[in-house]
């Protein structure tokens, strides 16, 4: 590892904080423990969590690219 690489690595690290978002979105049930609104016949409780599967995967993917050396 040379001196030029060092600050670049450190800057990439900041993006790792984005990974906290899925935890906030999914681990606080008061956000989503509700039957309504119903989306395509699916109660909000389920639709919301399905949506977060996708959002979380996208966030992880974005962080992957942002932290790539």
């Amino acid at each position: 590892m040379n001196a030029q690489q060092e600050p670049k690595r450190k800057r990439g690290r900041v993006w790792l904080w984005l990974l906290l978002i899925p935890f906030i979105g999914t681990l606080y049930p008061p956000f989503y423990a509700s039957y309504h609104p119903v989306w395509f016949g699916v109660p909000f409780f389920y639709a919301y969590q399905f949506l977060w599967v996708i959002i979380s995967a996208l966030i992880t993917g974005v962080v992957y690219f942002l932290t790539k050396d």
Binding site: M1, R9, L16, L19, L20, P22, F23, T26, L27, Y28, P29, P30, A33, S34, Y35, V38, F40, G41, V42, P43, F45, Y46, Q49, F50, W52, V53, I54, S56, A57, I59, T60, G61, V63, Y64, D69
Partner: protein, 506 residues
């Protein structure tokens, strides 16, 4: 007996048996070497690793137990989804570090890493024993999943299970990790097809999702205790702590470590954390099969029969056979990886460490192969000789136990601040406290209510024990440092955790 289902099932089973043996020639390596037998030579790229880890983490037991919980108790069972949502961002942080340091130093197990990091045979032994103990009942539960589908097809008795497991034992013995890696392709493709079809066909037959949720809500309201399709405020904390605690523990299970370390590069590990959520989406749909079973009017006291019965009722017999094969093969992949992972732990961290210190890699591989056979015999005995409930209880305990290895392994990947004795005592207390909570609950639930003054906090027992473990590890480290107790030499360098090393193709 459902003839068409049985024929399709048997044909698919023969196909994967052949694959299991052919796998020994795949990306050929010297299978008498533990790194080759037990980690597939660390040569699996992003794509293979995705199938391997997916096949490994989403087990037959999951396929049966998650919808069974939804069928029996309602929305609480859906915690499996937030669990598998947060597990990947979390693993994205620490698993690449474990991969890099393991690659650099040739570690095969998490316990190898702990030994290298803390130079503590005691702590490394504790980690290895925890891993083995948590894995054994998990393997037995794969058999339970398989038993459920065999029984649904009308193949009663123990012999089909025994045959399936002998086949599994033989190809794991000869091909090592390559066998489940190859079979995982078939398993996952079958599972995706079945779930996709189920998600389209069954709601169409049952009058749409709207009707399914209404019918499920009505059925759950008649259950004792009453269930609901949305969790009540009383269940908020249990739901969140179950999801979080299980997520923290998942990648520390020996089979998850083995699956990850077999990846060919750090990048492959990272990429998988973004792609594995595809399985989580599938798991969510699968969980809803529990409600579909309620809406379809399936009545069974044994909740694990709900999905097999749903398949038989709503699918043509031959396609039910495909579904059953998917679940049964879904049992074989993780069972193989789990037995390999347990063998790696036994060989490296118990046999070699305490009995034959100068064991060569060939000697290691031989011991691991034999141990993998013993592990499977043990699991088979568990399922046939002992009531299933014991295996389920032990698996519940296994999750609590694995969580107790977090401070030593996960925090150890970031800092060498902790004292090895403090970590050991934290682990021991966490194990005892966690087991005590489960016993006090009579294994009926992993939710335990802790009373703090006037507060009654109901949360996941594993997480509660883990917090006690962590606090003890911190406090004791501070005390031990203050009195000047030395910690062993650290064999690793801070840069080892960031290294990108690629396995040479030979």
């Amino acid at each position: 007996m459902h003839a068409a289902a049985v024929i399709v099932f048997v044909l698919l089973f023969i196909f994967i048996t052949v694959l299991g043996f052919v796998a020994s020639r795949w990306r050929k390596g010297n299978l008498s070497h533990l790194d080759e037998w037990g980690l597939g030579g660390r040569r699996f790229g992003t794509f293979v690793t995705w199938f391997l880890l997916g096949g490994d983490l989403y087990t037959a037991y999951t396929f049966i137990a998650v919808p069974a919980l939804m069928y029996g108790s309602g929305a609480l069972g859906f915690y499996a989804v937030p669990y598998t949502i947060v597990v990947y961002p979390l693993a994205f942080l620490f698993m690449p570090r474990l991969w890099s340091v393991a690659k650099k130093h040739g570690y095969v197990t998490a316990s190898d890493f702990v030994q290298g990091r803390y130079q503590s045979r005691l702590l490394a032994l504790a980690i290895a024993v925890t891993g083995i103990l948590a894995t054994l009942p998990y393997i037995a539960l794969q058999l339970v999943g398989m038993k459920a589908v065999l029984a649904a097809m009308g193949l009663a008795g123990d012999w089909p299970l025994i045959i399936a497991f002998i086949i599994l034992a033989l190809y794991t013995y000869t091909s090592g990790l390559r066998a489940p890696a190859m079979i995982a392709f078939v398993k996952d493709i079958l599972i995706y097809v079945v779930i996709l079809v189920a998600a389209i066909v069954i709601p169409m037959k049952l009058g749409g999702f709207s009707h399914i949720f209404h019918a499920a809500a009505a059925a759950l309201a008649t259950h004792k205790p009453k269930g609901a399709v949305v969790i009540s405020p009383k269940l908020f904390l249990p739901y969140a702590t179950l999801a979080f605690g299980s997520a923290v523990a998942l990648f520390l299970y020996p089979h998850a470590v083995t699956g990850t370390l077999s990846a060919s590069s750090r990048v492959a590990v990272k990429r998988n954390m973004a792609f594995l959520p595809i399985y989580s989406f599938m798991l969510g749909v699968l969980a809803l099969l529990g409600y579909m079973a309620l809406a379809a009017g399936i009545h069974t006291k044994v909740t694990s029969n709900a999905v097999p019965l749903l398949f038989l009722k709503e699918f043509p017999s031959w396609f039910a056979g495909v579904g059953f094969a998917a679940i049964a093969i879904g049992a074989l992949v993780p069972a193989a990886i789990m037995s390999i992972a347990a063998s790696n732990l036994f060989t490296r961290n118990i046999y070699k460490e305490f009995f034959v210190r100068q064991a060569t890699p060939e000697h290691e591989a031989r011991v691991a192969k034999i141990f993998s056979l013993l592990v499977k015999l043990g699991a088979l005995y568990f399922v046939i000789g002992i009531p299933t409930q014991y295996a389920i209880n032990l698996q519940l305990l296994g999750g609590i136990w694995i969580l107790q290895t977090v401070p030593a392994i996960v925090l150890g990947l970031y800092t060498r601040w902790f004292n090895r004795y403090a970590l050991f005592i934290g682990w021991a207390v966490g194990m005892i406290y966690g087991t005590g909570m489960a016993v006090e609950n009579q294994f009926k639930s992993s939710i335990y209510t802790v009373h703090l003054g006037h507060l009654a906090i109901a949360s996941y027992a594993g997480l509660t024990a883990g917090i006690v473990n962590l606090i003890l590890s911190v406090v004791l480290t501070l005390i031990l440092k203050a009195v000047g107790v030395k910690s062993g030499t650290d064999m690793t360098d801070p840069t080892d955790y960031e290294l990108e090393l690629t396995t040479l193709q030979n």
